[in-house]
Symmetry: C2
Subunit: 343 residues, 2 copies
């Protein structure tokens, strides 16, 4: 294992990282190595899309439960998921990283490998960034993604009567986190599924592009802060309310098994968990069959209707015959810290 100071510090580390990075010369005019990067503008008729996400040690990941490659992958996925949420195509990436003093060169190398596995899959150019020290000892990664779009789907287009739909299943990342923290006894297979769901989440970029082409999605969000919060964000932006049918929230058998083992309500966990990176979207009732069938056929991903948009500006949860008002928030970094258990 090699310390960063042993290879010659900041500049040497940047040179080593650069060697691994290849960019598309048709798109990138000036990549890593100057004060700024220069790229071609979006193609005629397209607008620029920009998103940024900061991942903080012991908040978004922990060194005891993530490999460096998984940290890199998750940083990329969280940002690509934001691009998916707005149906844009990611093109370029900037990576800032604050590195604790005793971090090894091998650690940083693996972290960049994790990022690059995602960027290469989607032809995203890594065009620059910033590397600095972190005196507090916490590893911090900030990724900015630059993309383009001709016609985006926003949060704000939901209309009363629209169906509320999610891709995949919900709550598995939260279940995986619980498992990593408390290690309750469940089957080996479910354990593997849930741990992987938390440490190696997937984005839904391909699904987002399929949905966009259908031309009938009225609003969309990705589920990074929990189903409850994301539903509220769509409703707030669209000036509507919603009803969620609790029993319709899709959860996986592995999630069900864990939540049963710890005697908690699976659907409740799904509502208030986070980082599933599934898509939450709305569409008219008559379009839902086409949407669900096309998604399944083109991407293999199952979508589920979980509720509907209402005119009344409240969000209700319907559990069998009981109607209750939804607790307002999902995940909030200032109220909870998922890794507090470590202290």
């Amino acid at each position: 294992m090699t310390k960063i100071s042993e290879i010659g510090g900041e500049q040497a580390l940047i040179r080593q990282i650069n060697k691994k990075i290849k960019t598309n010369p048709d798109e990138v005019i000036l990549g890593i190595g100057d004060d700024a990067a220069i790229t071609r503008p979006p193609k005629s008729g397209k607008n620029l899309v920009l998103t940024t996400d900061m991942l903080v040690e012991n908040n978004h990941f922990s060194l005891s439960t993530y490999t460096p490659e998984q940290i890199g992958k998750k940083s990329a996925v969280a940002n690509i998921s934001d691009m998916a949420a707005i149906t844009a195509t990611p093109k370029h990436m900037l990576i800032s990283i604050a590195i604790p003093k005793d971090t090894t060169v091998e650690f940083i190398d693996s972290l960049y490998d994790g990022i690059q596995k995602e960027t290469q899959k989607h032809n995203i150019n890594i065009i620059g960034g910033d590397i600095t020290g972190s005196p507090s000892g916490a590893l911090i990664i900030n990724i900015t993604l630059i993309g383009e779009t001709d016609k985006e789907i926003r949060r704000s287009g939901a209309k009363p009567g629209d169906c509320l739909i999610v891709t995949g299943d919900i709550g598995r990342s939260g279940a995986g986190l619980h498992l990593l923290q408390h290690n309750p006894k469940i089957s080996k297979k479910s354990e593997q599924i849930l741990k992987k769901a938390h440490t190696e989440p997937q984005h839904r970029l391909k699904e987002s592009q399929t949905l966009k082409k259908l031309n009938c999605i009225t609003s969309m969000n990705d589920i990074s802060d929990g189903l409850a919060t994301e539903t509220k964000e769509i409703c707030d932006a669209s000036n509507t309310g919603a009803i969620i049918y609790k029993q319709k929230i899709p959860t996986s058998p592995a999630t069900d098994e864990l939540l049963k083992a710890i005697k908690k309500d699976t659907k409740e966990t799904a509502l208030y968990g986070g980082e599933d990176f599934e898509l939450l979207f709305t569409a008219k009732q008559q379009d839902t069959k086409k949407i669900i069938d096309t998604l399944k056929k083109q991407t293999g991903t199952i979508a589920t209707i979980i509720g509907k948009i209402t005119e009344e500006k409240q969000i209700y949860l319907i559990d069998k015959n009981k109607k209750t008002q939804l607790k307002k928030t999902g995940y909030d970094h200032f109220k909870q810290n998922p890794y507090d258990y470590k202290k």
Copy 2:
């Protein structure tokens, strides 16, 4: 003083910040409040310019020596300086911030005020960002700037025989840091100048735009990591070497006074300090008079020839008649920590 959790956490804080932010509707299609921001692409014929910088507590600033407004301002200035270095026009900004638990709403408010004072001056739109908690207790700010350019000046265009020129004076930020740390006795006036130079550095965006129009600058860098490092970066990118005349390095009377008081070599400090955010650039000998005169006339800023570019790929320092090879680096975050004195 109000805690962030008292106003309702992350979402409430974002709503409060949003209220202060105005963007230009001709440029910004979708600002803060969705998963990503959408802007118009650069005007026809212009390319996209991107830069990102991470500022870390006790590395780039300390809460004992900076006000929150100064931290915000410095974060913006460091990024604008990178745009100046490549002669681009900054257009949009993304701000990520990791906030320690007990930070007050008023603190964050002032920090954004500091950023906004800079963005408003240069018509930069704040279009989005990320707010998260910082379990390690360190405040982290990452800013990404998106700009445009038709014809940039890179680091790589210096030619043997070109003159090496700097704007302003060098070393005052480093002198200010020393003053804040060790408090040696100097005149009140010099103390004020140097402290301000460190906590409220200025970028040279206007000077950069003036230089670009002259159409004769062969290479450029901003001095963020020290004159020695930045000279080396120009030489490495241009495949040249350089000679620096030590006595020609411009330093201010306040810097001279401090360095004399602590019995250190002013010019040496200037070479290896950092964060002066002056411009370092090269041009043919015959163009230097026009450059220096125009800069003085149009911006009030003095530029000084400090050396020349050579074919031999070494950087030499000439001090009176003594020629020595320049130590290779200026500031390195993995070798030094300017705020280590605090521990």
